[in-house]
């Protein structure tokens, strides 16, 4: 069996900057992946790499600690010190004598290290893992830790490309803003965390077979997405609505619970009444693969959402258009 990593391991070829005076290292690494999986660019000095690092940051920086013009640790800090490059994963190559004393990883901002003599299989898997770890961390919603926009788009596009039937549900909350305005954002976050958990468990409870299609993502704010097979969509909607309506009252203070919502006065002095928060769900279907692009799903959902929002109570609308 070929121990090289296949090109479809990652979604697109990974660009790796290799900064080392050791040319053998490049050869060793290149043999570990199938062609088309990784694109290595070799720099023998840090100074040569810097401009390109800033202008077109790669997916991974692999740097030797021993460089002619600075240390690898200094190079890492130089790049990762800037907020826009903080997400760039860096692996530091060390020699045995570098490992004599404990490193202060608080000071040296790298993500992993390798040390000589290199054991090819270890190098291969550490690099793969570092890349995937960075991808996951990059796209997770900071609050709910659910996959974010990049993953949602990718997932949808994959299904569209394969002309697979699926149901894509867009979930959002009605009157969330009035709740946030009255109770503050940390109380708002509580509701978002609850909603995330609720969608995840509902989908997991309905789709018990791990091989069946199921995905939950967090677009941001009070917008969530789930993907299930078409026949599951309605059950998921009904269960989310039932659970949310039962749970949401507990997030209001006692007076508002008794009053049935929030009463507030706007800047013009008008008294407004906002009922309890509710969920609106718009479900886009892809029967016989009619969608051509993930973006199409979003615009159909936006139109459906208007319909779902017409009702002040929790409601769902499933796309009725057939191909």
């Amino acid at each position: 069996m070929d121990a090289r990593v296949s090109p479809c391991y990652f979604n697109h070829p990974q660009r790796v900057f290799l900064v080392t005076p050791d040319e053998d290292l490049l050869q060793l690494l290149e043999g570990l992946w199938w062609p088309g999986c990784m694109e290595f660019t070799l720099f023998s000095r840090a100074a040569d790499a810097l401009e390109q690092l800033f202008a077109q940051p790669p997916d991974l920086l692999l740097t030797d600690q021993r460089l002619p013009d600075m240390t690898g640790a200094q190079l890492a800090n130089l790049v990762k010190g800037e907020n826009v490059y903080r997400q760039l994963p860096v692996i530091l190559c060390l020699d045995h004598e570098d490992m004599e004393y404990p490193w202060d990883w608080n000071e040296v901002e790298v993500d992993d290290f390798l040390f000589r003599p290199f054991f090819p299989a270890e190098a291969r898997d550490r690099i793969n893992l570092t890349l995937l770890r960075a991808l996951r961390a990059l796209d997770a919603n900071p609050l709910s830790k659910l996959p974010g926009n990049t993953s949602i788009l990718q997932r949808t596009q994959d299904l569209v490309d394969r002309s697979e039937a699926f149901a894509l549900g867009y979930v959002d909350l009605d009157h969330f803003k009035s709740f946030n305005d009255k109770y503050g954002f940390s109380r708002g976050d509580e509701v978002l965390m609850m909603t995330a958990r609720l969608i995840v468990n509902t989908v997991r409870d309905i789709v018990r077979d791990k091989r069946e299609l199921s995905f939950v993502g967090h677009v941001g704010g009070d917008d969530f997405v789930f993907i299930v097979s078409e026949p599951r969509a309605e059950a998921v909607c009904l269960r989310i609505i039932e659970a949310f309506d039962g749970l949401v009252r507990g997030f209001y203070d006692q007076e508002d619970r008794k009053r049935g919502g929030i009463v507030s006065t706007d800047r013009q002095g008008n008294v407004q009444h906002f009922p309890f928060m509710a969920v609106s769900i718009a479900v886009v279907l892809n029967p016989s693969g009619k969608l051509r692009h993930a973006g199409e799903a979003a615009s159909i959902a936006a139109a459906l959402k208007k319909k779902a929002k017409e009702s002040p109570e929790s409601s769902y609308v499933i796309d009725q258009r057939r191909a």
Binding site: L143, D189, E190, V191, M193, M194, R197, L198, V200, N201, T202, R204, D205, R208, A243, G246, L247, R249, G250, F251, Q254, R257
Partner: protein, 278 residues
């Protein structure tokens, strides 16, 4: 001296790691979580009959990890938010009392009896979420369970005092420790970040007139405790009749006729649940 004891006891109480339960409900829930066809409703119904499992589930869902501490007071809601895997974890890590089981059965039955009464009262009064009242009733003597586990020596002395001095459990606790299980409930409720309504009911069910924010649920637990004792459903540690606060009855606007109807309904419910195994 008294204050030192209180600090010491509080430390021991809050250090509780393993809160065991009785095998009956645990076995049933274990079977349910292993069955891929069982529903959340079935599991939550079963867990709602066991004070320790219910307390563990609520402690978990209200922990800061989930991001909404102090918000969830219903078992059904907790299960939806925790999910099967976490529930399975809680069940697997719950052990069973090995000794004194017979003595404990009464306490479990009394707690379930109080929960049942609270649910009936809540529905009769027209409360929007009667399940929260039932949960508060179920947990009202949790402090006793924790004391049995964490303070075996003091518990022994309390039981002696009940026998020798003909005291109620509550009086004996205060005689021996200077405070009762209502105080232990308050510590646990705060430490575990349980919702404020459950905390107040747990901490003030012996003195419902001192309830500040949630007088109704506190009054319901007080009456539920009284009724469950009056019917001698289970045993809460002594065989005294507890005091019924007239104010608690007034808070819920209950008239004599309402109480009679509640008692009729309760008598029937008790017949239904009497043969449940613990």
């Amino acid at each position: 001296m008294q204050e030192d004891l209180k600090t010491l006891v509080k430390g021991q109480v809050l250090a509780v790691k393993d809160l065991p339960t009785l095998p009956g409900v645990l076995d049933e829930v274990t079977k349910l979580v292993q069955d891929p066809d069982s529903s959340t409703e079935q599991i939550s119904k079963a867990i709602s009959r066991d004070q320790v499992l219910s307390a563990k589930v609520l402690k978990m869902v209200n922990s800061p990890v989930y991001g909404f501490p102090g918000r969830i007071s219903s078992i059904q809601h907790a299960l939806v938010l925790l999910g099967f895997n976490v529930i399975r974890g809680i069940i697997i890590s719950t052990s069973v009392f090995d000794i004194m089981q017979a003595a404990m059965k009464g306490l479990w039955q009394h707690s379930l009896g109080c929960a049942t009464a609270c649910g009936i009262i809540a529905r009769r009064v027209g409360i929007e979420e009667p399940e929260e009242f039932a949960v508060a009733g179920l947990l009202h003597d949790l402090g006793k369970v924790v004391a049995i586990v964490q303070l075996p020596e003091l518990t022994g002395r309390i039981n002696e005092a009940i026998q020798d001095k003909d005291l109620s459990y509550y009086e004996a606790e205060r005689h021996i420790m200077g405070f009762g299980h209502d105080r232990i409930n308050a510590w646990l409720g705060r430490h575990w970040r349980l919702p404020a309504n459950l905390r107040e009911a747990m901490a003030r069910h012996h003195r419902p007139e001192t309830a500040q924010h949630y007088p109704e649920i506190t009054a319901a637990v007080h009456i539920g405790d009284f009724l469950s004792r009056a019917f001698e459903f289970g045993n809460s540690g002594d065989d005294q009749i507890s005091y019924l606060s007239p104010k608690a009855v007034n808070v819920l606007k209950l008239r004599m006729a309402d109480l009679e109807r509640i008692m009729d309904e309760l008598a029937e419910s008790y017949l239904d649940i009497a043969d449940l195994t613990f």
